[in-house]
């Protein structure tokens, strides 16, 4: 029988001296238990992400082709040099840049505007938010297919509507100047809700007392927006922009469904071009180098962006 006094006097020491729970092996220490729990996820990560990345890195220095087979001969940096100096790649990079800037800018402006308007409503806010989120929940392939039908120059509903108000037919997907705009519009339709959701979270988190204090000082609506709302939501918005920019940079599905990169190659993005290099000619070595370069670009740009964000936070 234990001594009640000693329990009260040294509660901590007593607790640590408690033997392991029945059924637990004496050899299974906390350290091993941690390893056992982490291992499955770690192995999965190594097998599905890290190994393919390292394998792609290895292949990027070779002339390996997945279909032609044979040994992979080292060509060192020749794949990288060829990609960086290729006019074809430069053209796709410019198209991708136009697309990323256009789509992310439009989505940010619209997303924030919608979030700002919703945040000012009291009734029906939940329903409105849910409705706005619907496009984001759809598969990009499904989105691409129904927009392809809607944008069809002959049978599409968009041209039909334009016709009913006396405007002429627009060749949305087959003209150089409209095809990229169509891609931006469709991506904006689908992903504006993402920006809206994050902006709405930021707007909801702005302390009410700041607005109350501003009201007491009879600050104008614009002044309150400029000095309270925007500075507090801005960092969160920038993170949303980062996510969207990375996503937009690797756009493939919408291009594949809507334009197949056309007319000609005028809407071919970098990802679409990598796909062609990898699966039309099965130039696996070149495609691996192309992919590695794209990852590097994203990492470098994201790092620069994060530094800016941290600086903003410190300020």
């Amino acid at each position: 029988m234990s001594d009640p006094v000693s329990l009260t006097d040294h509660p901590v020491q007593e607790a640590s001296a408690t033997p392991p729970a029945p059924g637990r092996s004496r050899h299974l220490s906390d350290r091993w238990l941690t390893v056992a729990f982490i291992s499955p996820a770690l192995l999965l990560l190594l097998a599905m992400s890290v190994f393919p990345l390292l394998w792609a890195l290895y292949l990027s220095f070779t002339d390996y082709s997945a279909t032609r087979g044979g040994p992979a001969t080292f060509v060192w940096f020749e794949n990288f040099t060829a990609i960086l100096t290729s006019a074809q790649v430069h053209m796709r990079a410019f198209t991708t840049l136009l697309y990323v800037v256009g789509a992310v800018t439009l989505q940010t402006v619209l997303g924030f505007s919608i979030a700002y308007l919703i945040s000012r409503r009291v009734r029906g806010r939940g329903v409105l938010t849910t409705l706005f989120l619907v496009p984001m929940m759809l598969s990009p392939v499904v989105v691409g297919l129904f927009w392809r039908f809607m944008l069809d120059a002959q049978f599409g509903v968009i041209n039909s509507m334009l016709g009913s108000i006396g405007l002429g037919q627009v060749e949305w997907l087959t003209k150089q100047n409209t095809a990229l705009i169509s891609l931006i519009v469709v991506d904006t339709w689908q992903w504006t809700p993402f920006i809206m959701l994050i902006a709405l979270a930021g707007l909801t988190a702005v302390p009410k007392y700041l607005y109350e204090a501003a009201s007491i000082d009879r600050a104008s609506e614009w002044f309150r927006f400029r000095t309270i709302t925007l500075p507090l939501v801005w960092p969160l918005l920038l993170i949303a922009v980062l996510f969207r920019a990375i996503e937009a940079f690797r756009l493939f599905d919408l291009v594949y469904i809507l334009t197949s990169g056309g007319p000609g190659v005028s809407t071919e993005t970098l990802s679409f071009h990598v796909y062609k290099v990898a699966f039309l000619g099965f130039n696996t070595g070149t495609a691996s180098a192309y992919g590695i370069l794209m990852v590097l670009i994203v990492i470098v740009l994201a790092q620069l962006y994060m530094r800016y964000l941290n600086k903003l936070k410190e300020d």
């Binding site: 279909t67 997907l173 190659v265």
Partner: protein
């Protein structure tokens, strides 16, 4: 925190070792040549077996599955035929990514004639030369059809090299047919390409809302490229000099330039706005909805045009046929037409029992009576006797067009670099058709880029850009 760091270091080391071992192991079984099929069909299994095909999604794929399950199972009741389909644009990738993995979920890949070179060079399909010699009556075929769907290296147009190896047998013959509105341009189809353009122009002017022409222009698959190649052939051009492996200066010679000019400046203005991404289905839709005076499409995809449920041209098949006519392509400087259709091959990665069944299926399929039944079921046979049989000629109004076109066919390049060559041509022709590039520049770019692809064989680094 010493322990997690050690775990990380161990994991990284293990990974590097694994990577190095795999890398040093290299490719296990890449063959420069296709493995040989036996001359005699090995003993067939009596156990239930599913024989899988891979094709793209279009009506003949459904027809084949229904036909084979109805007829082949009379002879082999333990076998089920499954025709797996993928979208046309993914057809090449779907087959060759599995070939790359050296493991296929299909036993009989249905390859486009131009895919054969790539598959043979990589050792993906069986060499069936000995099997054909022993089991197939090669004299029953037009030699060029047998060569186009099975021979590698590629045959000269219209010929077969009897010393060359065979890697496939014809499954479905095909070519383009001209579909014309008899009620709008008359019962007699235009005889020359110039007359066809003039008739389309007149029809478009007289019938507001109906475009003069409808044809393939999309930049996916081989759509726009086949259109250009057809006009190129008709105007006396050549795609390449196969012996010298020369494209630059051949495709873009005077005849080639004239063909591109006709296509972009005379034919394109007669098409519907926004038709720059049209392929098989869109052209059929335009015809079925009465929106085109003259259209060009593959014969094997034209069956739906006579279905009253899919057409606004009539409530019965006869009523539709009163308005639609089908004819061989008009001639101009030559009478060449594009070779379509596909052959069936045997995957080198199928199990031996499925390879045996595949060979047995091919032998069964190429019999005279089965070919006639295939014709009656909606297929386009390749045997000469089946092509001239009433079963085939009466099965569809466009079947005579095919029979009359056989001697006029020309194929593209059947080389391992085909996928890249066709992409270059597709994107450039599509760019020219949609105003993204001047036609002359587009043709010169095709010549330059395709020549670079042929010349880059063996080049180290940066291939495929």
């Amino acid at each position: 925190m010493r322990y997690p760091r050690r775990i990380g270091q161990l994991a990284a080391a293990a990974l590097l070792v694994a990577t190095s071992l795999t890398a040093c192991g290299g490719d296990d079984g890449a063959n420069a040549n296709a493995p040989k099929a036996p001359a005699d069909i090995p003993e067939l299994t009596k156990d239930p077996l599913t024989l899988s095909f891979i094709w793209f999604d279009w009506p003949p794929a459904k027809a084949l599955e229904a036909f084979a399950n109805a007829e082949y199972t009379k002879e082999r009741s333990n076998v089920t035929i499954k025709v797996n389909v993928v979208p046309n644009a993914n057809w090449h990738d779907a087959m060759f990514t599995q070939f790359a993995a050296h493991k296929t979920d299909f036993d009989i890949p249905i390859l486009d004639s131009q895919h054969i070179g790539e598959a043979v060079t990589n050792g993906n399909i069986l060499d069936i030369t000995d099997f054909v010699k022993k089991n197939i009556d090669v004299n029953a075929y037009n030699p060029y059809l047998l060569a186009a769907y099975g021979q590698f290296p590629q045959a000269e147009t219209g010929q077969r090299d009897e010393n060359a190896s065979l890697y496939g047998l014809p499954l479905l013959g095909d070519t383009w047919t001209m579909i014309y509105r008899k009620d709008l341009i008359g019962d007699t189809p235009p005889a020359t390409w110039d007359e066809m353009i003039a008739a389309a122009q007149k029809c478009q002017t007289e019938n507001p809302g109906v475009s003069g022409l409808a044809f393939h222009q999309a930049n996916g698959s081989d759509a726009a490229a086949v259109t250009y190649n057809t006009v190129n052939g008709v105007y006396g051009g050549n795609l390449w000099d196969s012996k010298a492996r020369k494209i630059e200066g051949v495709i873009n010679d005077a005849a080639g330039q004239e063909a591109m000019d006709v296509l972009v400046n005379k034919m394109k203005p007669l098409t519907a706005a926004g038709s720059g991404n049209w392929f098989i289905d869109e052209v059929n839709a335009a015809v079925a909805q009465g929106k085109a005076c003259i259209a060009f499409n593959w014969i094997a995809a034209s069956g739906g045009l006579l279905d009253p449920e899919q057409s606004t041209l009539g409530k019965t098949r006869d009523e539709i046929l009163g308005k639609l006519g089908f004819a061989t392509l008009p001639k101009q400087k030559t009478d060449l037409v594009p070779l379509g259709g596909m052959g069936m091959h045997v995957s080198a990665y199928s199990s031996p029992e499925k390879q045996a069944e595949a060979l047995n299926f091919m032998k069964w399929f190429e019999q005279a009576d089965i070919q006639k039944k295939w014709a009656a079921a909606g297929g386009v046979p390749a045997r000469t006797d089946a092509l001239s049989s009433p079963e085939f000629l009466n099965a569809g109004p466009f079947n005579k067009v095919y029979a009359d076109s056989v001697s006029r066919m020309r194929d593209m390049w059947n080389v391992p670099e085909y996928a890249r060559l066709i992409d270059i041509e597709n994107t450039n022709v599509n760019a020219a058709l949609n105003g993204a590039k001047p036609p002359k520049d587009a043709l010169n770019d095709i010549a330059k880029e395709q020549q670079a692809v042929l010349d880059s064989a063996g080049k180290k680094g940066g291939g495929g850009l």
